[in-house]
């Protein structure tokens, strides 16, 4: 860890203007602090969002819910309205991390957490994503890595469970920038594969702050997660399925790509809103269309098909 300043700014609206590539926002700190300790990030200063009036409320809005950026995963997990109305989100959150972490971790921070690739997180390795060169995971220990879109420079998976649920639910984030401008962005557009010019998994600029997450209702939705132990592990594969208000079925997988991965083939195979057993069989079989697994992660394909099948059965 390198020394840094710690700043508090009471007014959230004033925070974005203070942010730069080396002055970063701190929310629960459950991801950021581990990155500082591993010297992955070396900011000059942290601005503590918790010291500001950034949103902490969970509000019913027309057609869904609006969550302040500082809402913790625990509060989502235990919120009766969210559990009933957007079960995919509540289920994703309750299977993420551990109770202690969920008490601290915020929903905005969760979306912006960095990959858990064990080379990226290892101080002794400087891989491409960490600003160095080469991807040791591609030819190394890649049992946890991506199975889709694996010809890019990085094969790390996006670590968030809630992100897959939010994409399936069609959620958006509200972003405030340093010039005082506010914009609305689909979570599906917020999270993108890293590129040579932008070695990070989202499109936000240095002076952008997420202020809220808006989630449309989908009582018929679910999130299933496979881990190598019962709790306290990132997803090997997760699948979110959601039936939107207009009857559209969206399927999004975690643990399989740089970003939450829309299972377009499976959605197409459903061919219509009726979730019949035959349609579900077809969709599950098509869930792995286009997959290109690495040497150690072929097992993720049957896993993805099973979870897709079970998730669709649950929302049928």
């Amino acid at each position: 860890m390198t020394p840094f300043d710690y700043q508090r700014i009471p007014e959230a609206a004033a925070v974005p203007a203070q942010l730069t590539p080396t002055v970063r926002p701190l929310a629960g700190g459950t991801d950021l602090l581990t990155r500082l300790k591993a010297c992955l990030d070396r900011p000059d200063a942290l601005v503590d969002l918790k010291a500001s009036d950034l949103g902490r409320a969970i509000d019913r809005v027309d057609g869904g819910w609006r969550l302040g950026a500082l809402v913790t995963l625990s509060r989502i997990q235990h919120h009766p309205g969210l559990r009933a109305d957007v079960p995919a989100l509540a289920e994703a959150v309750s299977q993420a991390a551990t109770p202690q972490l969920r008490n601290r971790a915020t929903i905005a921070g969760n979306l912006l957490q960095r990959p858990r690739c064990w080379y990226f997180r290892n101080e002794r390795v400087q891989c491409w994503l960490a600003g160095g060169e080469g991807c040791p995971a591609r030819s190394g220990r890649n049992e946890h890595h991506a199975v889709f879109d694996t010809d890019g420079p990085c094969v790390a998976t996006h670590p968030s469970d809630p992100a897959a649920a939010l994409v399936a639910l069609g959620a958006t984030v509200t972003v405030l920038d340093g010039g005082g401008g506010e914009r609305e962005l689909a979570v599906a557009d917020l999270l993108v594969p890293p590129t040579d010019e932008r070695r990070v998994e989202h499109v936000l600029a240095a002076d952008d702050v997420i202020t809220a997450v808006t989630v449309p209702s989908a009582p018929r939705s679910t999130y299933l997660k496979a881990m190598d132990r019962a709790v306290w592990a990132f997803a090997l594969v997760g699948v979110a399925a959601a039936v939107s208000a207009d009857g559209e079925v969206r399927l999004v997988a975690s643990g399989v790509a740089n970003t939450p991965w829309r299972l377009a083939g499976a959605e197409a195979a459903l061919a219509g809103p009726g979730l019949t057993p035959e349609a579900i069989d077809r969709a599950a079989a098509a869930a792995t269309d286009g997959a290109a697994p690495l040497a150690e992660n072929g097992y993720k394909l049957p896993l993805l098909r099973t979870l897709t099948h079970r998730a669709l059965t649950a929302v049928a």
């Binding site: 064990w118 290892n122 220990r141 496979a226 090997l236 049957p302």
Partner: protein, 759 residues
Amino acid sequence: MDESDLPTWPPGTDLETVGTGVPRREAPAKVTGGAVYSSDLRLPGQLYAAIARSPHPHARVRSIDTERARRQPGVVSVIAGEEGGEGVTWYEESVPLFGPVARFAGDEVAAVAATSLEAARDAVRALNVDYEVLAHVVGIDEAQRPEAPSIHGTPGNRTTDPKVEERGDVAAALAAAPIRIEHTYRTPTAVHNALETHGAVAWWQPDRLTIWASTQGVTQVAQMTAEALGLDQSQVRVITEHVGGGFGAKQVPWKDVAIAALLSRRTGRPVQCAYDRHGENVAAGKRGATRQRVRIGADTDGRLLAIDAELVGDSGAYQTAGEAAALWGPYQGLYRCDNVRTSVTYVYTNTGPAVAFRAPGYVEAAFALESAMDELAHRLGVDPIELRRRNHTGVDQQQAKPWSSPDSLPLIYDRISALAGWDARPRNAPPAPGGDGGVRRGWGFAASDWLAGKANPPGYASVELRTDGSAEVVTTVQDIGTGTRTVLAQVAAEELQLPVEEVRVTLGDTAAGPPSPTSSGSATTPTMAPAVRAAAADARHQLVAAAARQLDCAPGDVTLDHGKLVAANSGSRTVAEVLEGLSPAAVHGWGELVAVDDSVSVRTFGAAVAEVSVDTGTGEVRVTRMVSVPDCGRVLNPTLVASQIIGGVTQGIGFALTESQLVDAELGLPVNDSLEEYLVPTVLDICPIEAVPLDRPDTGANQLGVKGIGEPPMIPVAPAIANAVFDAIGIRFHELPLTRRRVLDALAEAASPDESEPA
């Protein structure tokens, strides 16, 4: 008094305190945070050390520039390279403390002492080490190849010549056997990952060195540290009050001790050196991976005719002292067989050194042998427990002498069958091959033996009676969290007829008396309980003699009866009165265990039954119930014994399902070197565990009939689970752990045998 002079407590002896579930003495301190571990110590002026570790698996250290590190705020001392190690050598290869060659990623090259841990860590990052990277090799197969880089210049990277043991004519018996089973089994590298990492505080004062260490052996640390630092053992005092887990990895001193000591000598201040979790995972010991080629020949009734086991274990970059992984053990001893050959080879690799880990060797070998026995039972259509009965032996065939408890295994078989409901278990129809057949259930069984669990002399203890009638037990031995304090108090209370609360126990300090055994080989209780009992008996005899003098009668006429000394016809006195009358002289009993009876062979046997569910769609294996019946002789404290069984079964579940240190072959780096990625089981991964010790005093072992329980319960767990998985899905696994990846790959292969799956 020598423990062998004590009357035996045969089965059925009426005991008051021994055998009851007295609560662990230090429990209140532990749950309230009051217990002080060596990493909690804060001595006046204390400094904190951080270690620089090689990032390369094999490299020559050309030079270390310490300038920038020394200038960091808070830095008091930097020791680096060979000269920084001041001639101290380490490991069985006697390499310099900070070698000119690093042989694994994590090998120590320098250390810093600073006024805070953060400052020390920052200074380590400021060291500039110039490495010449050398070719490396990880994995036992790769290390044995002729073209593999040589780690210590030995042929085939072997640590020594293979250790071969053979009886009978194995080749001929195998060739003639009507039934043969042959497989190569593999077990993973497992890391102890005790909650408290390795750590010590050392304080070098002009004439002596005091070390507060997180260790399983205060005497051993004092001896080895004195030797390494060129001191006399009398100058080194080691104190260990509480230990946050050891599991074998703390049975020898690690470099934390020497680094703290050297830095303390340089600075004149106490220095704390505790490994971080990364250090704990890469440089503080492991259960080395194994490859076991096993061939078994049997007759058509399932009687074993021959066993041939070619066993290879990963030693890591160096050999450590302490118990070696006895991979040959179960093959040589668990079953009756006239023709047995075991060959054990340990291989150097450029990874962290291996060290004993809870029943080292037996846990690994039991997975292979007990999987093969289950396969034999299925091949022959014989019940797996019945097959074990047919192969029972009451003798140690290697040493040609009887077991101290020759019938305990058959009794264990009876007990566990009844408890588990083995005969009434549901019998599975053969499963359809491949995945999503939904969730299937299965039952599995495995037996176990363990070569230790007997006394490891010498053990010494004293018992002093206080004028208020209470007693104080003093011994140097450590309590590593297993409840040693508590059982020693119980034994003394029993002999002195005192309530157990009236017995204090002082331990874990080499200054308190003569040497004590390391807590390894499940030896602490069988060594120390007899010694304490002898000390208490000695005190009792002195007390009775004093009472006889005071009551003016012969000692033979006086009996101790719960705080009172009663003479046949001349009245009685309380213990306090007798001691008062004796004052200022005191009653100070002495007890020792200095030899063991070796006309019999002491073994600790056991068995486990596992029930599992396997989700064929997701590859998830869940253990839904475990029954464990170990033999530890007389149970001194059922609560503490149950704790050991539950802990051992839990660690066994981890070994079976989730734990495996993964190393990137190209970089030579362990990738899952944290508790996030190295998956120890959580409470939700654990099932109800029925812990039912046989509880039969083994008076062949010692007068108390007590044997160890720390290690054995782990041994049969993984094979019982693997056998249950076979029962559930019809797939026999030859490699652990049974992760989703392994299970799904196997299910896919079973569904389409000719389609080659990703490796």
